[in-house]
């Protein structure tokens, strides 16, 4: 009897050990040969919205200081955005490949899991070319001295290993084949991989995982009372394409109400994208 239990426990532990292991994304052999273009990276930077979370609080947006420090309260403790500026306290010593692995698989430079407050379930679908351009662009921004404070988490959330299991489940829960969609449909690529709209607009379960149901159908922000509305066609029916475009570029709704809360930052980012990108976003949302 005890032998059986011990065996069962050992097997369980072994399965957990294997499934929870950090799995750095495998980059293509060509990745090393891509030369990042900072000018093209500026567009990716706007679409992914790095600045909205990593901007040094109280600093001017125009100064583009990625010093981190902004707090993100959640049911699992308070996460603090790290310094991702090109200083040794940020990602100045990270190679381009390490940067790509962090975005695509949520595995840090030290080989540990990163918390999904970095939206890697979305960035997983980013193209290597774009990651390379983004890296090149970030390296042109001011180097900010000083690391941000560490996350403030309860004891049970400090152990990162279970995130490996979380990632498997989170990827399995994604509702459709993003690999195919994001490589063929530019709108899907911007909405799902770059702008990570689903991180706020799709419902999550108790362990903070997007359930895959009612995709982009509206949700309450994780760890806040703020509501993100549905982006599905039935909710956008009364808006024309021009209305949507005006909203994404200025923040004004057809009634001349405005975006509020987190969406204000999102609009500030989207407003920098070329018209064509906004048109593709709208086309993709219309087809959901």
């Amino acid at each position: 009897m005890w032998k059986w239990l011990a065996t069962l426990f050992a097997c369980g532990a072994a399965v957990f050990y294997v499934l929870s292991a950090p799995k750095p994304a495998e980059l293509s052999p060509e990745f090393a040969d891509i030369i990042g273009d900072p000018a093209a990276g500026a567009r990716i930077f706007a679409a992914t919205g790095c600045l909205s979370c990593h901007l040094t609080p109280e600093s001017e947006t125009a100064d583009m200081k990625l010093g981190g420090g902004r707090a993100f309260p959640s049911p699992f403790g308070t996460f603090i955005a790290p310094n991702i500026s090109p200083s040794p306290d940020g990602i100045g010593n990270w190679s381009e490949a390490e940067f790509a692995v962090a975005l695509k698989s949520g595995v840090g430079r030290d080989g540990q899991h990163l918390y999904p407050v970095l939206p890697y379930t979305s960035y997983h679908f980013m193209r290597e070319r774009d990651i390379s351009d983004l890296y090149a662009f970030i390296m042109t921004l001011p180097a900010v001295e000083g690391a941000a404070p560490p996350h403030d988490l309860p004891f049970y959330a400090r152990w990162r290993r279970p995130l490996g299991i979380w990632k498997h489940l989170a990827n399995a829960a994604l509702p459709h084949d993003f690999e195919a969609a994001t490589s063929t449909n530019e709108g899907a690529y911007i909405v799902e991989a770059l702008a990570h709209c689903s991180e706020c607009h799709s419902p999550r379960n108790l362990i903070g995982m997007k359930t895959g149901k009612n995709w982009l159908g509206g949700a309450t922000l994780f760890g806040s009372d703020e509501k993100a509305p549905s982006l599905r066609p039935d909710n956008l029916d009364s808006w024309t394409d021009t209305d949507l475009k005006t909203y994404f570029q200025t923040g004004f709704t057809p009634d001349y109400d405005t975006a509020s809360g987190e969406m204000v930052e999102v609009i500030n980012n989207l407003a920098q994208l070329p018209d064509e990108d906004i048109d593709n976003i709208i086309k993709y949302l219309r087809g959901l």
Binding site: E226, A228, F252, Y256, T258, S260, G261, V264
Partner: protein, 144 residues
């Protein structure tokens, strides 16, 4: 004795109900004030952009929505007016200094916009006042 008790009960009751009414009224009043500004933006933006004809009477009438709000705004969010059907964020009261500064900027910008006399002045006025909407809604409104 009896009468004085009755009077004091009535007084308490009257105070309580008037406080409730005041609460409901302030919500209604500030929502009407916000809607009026939204409406003004809706009417004035196409005029400023040149896609609607310039009509001085219309412009003057709509501009009053901002001037009116600029005089009232500071009194529209008293302590305790955070209940009921409101999207006013708790930050209005927890970050009172920040909110006061935002209101001050708004008032200053409305005064700077003045009373436009042609579509170019109107466009400038819209450019000056417009960013206040988003700036305030970012930190001080919560969509529920």
């Amino acid at each position: 004795m009896k009468t004085s008790k009755l009077i004091s009960y009535t007084a308490v009751f009257a105070l309580a109900t008037s406080a409730l009414f005041a609460q409901a009224n302030i919500l209604e009043e500030r929502q009407a004030m916000m809607k009026a500004m939204g409406q003004a933006m809706k009417v004035l933006s196409p005029i400023a952009a040149g896609s609607a004809d310039y009509d001085q009477a219309v412009v003057d009438a709509q501009m009053t929505a901002f001037q009116d709000a600029a005089t009232k705004m500071v009194d529209m969010f008293p302590e305790g007016s955070d209940g009921g059907e409101t999207e006013a964020a708790p930050a209005i009261w927890s970050d009172a200094d920040g909110f006061a500064a935002a209101v001050e900027t708004f008032v200053k910008d409305v005064n700077a916009a003045g009373t436009p006399k042609d579509e170019f002045e109107l466009a400038d006025a819209m450019q000056t006042i417009g960013p206040n909407c988003k700036a305030c809604h970012q930190d001080y409104r919560i969509k529920k």
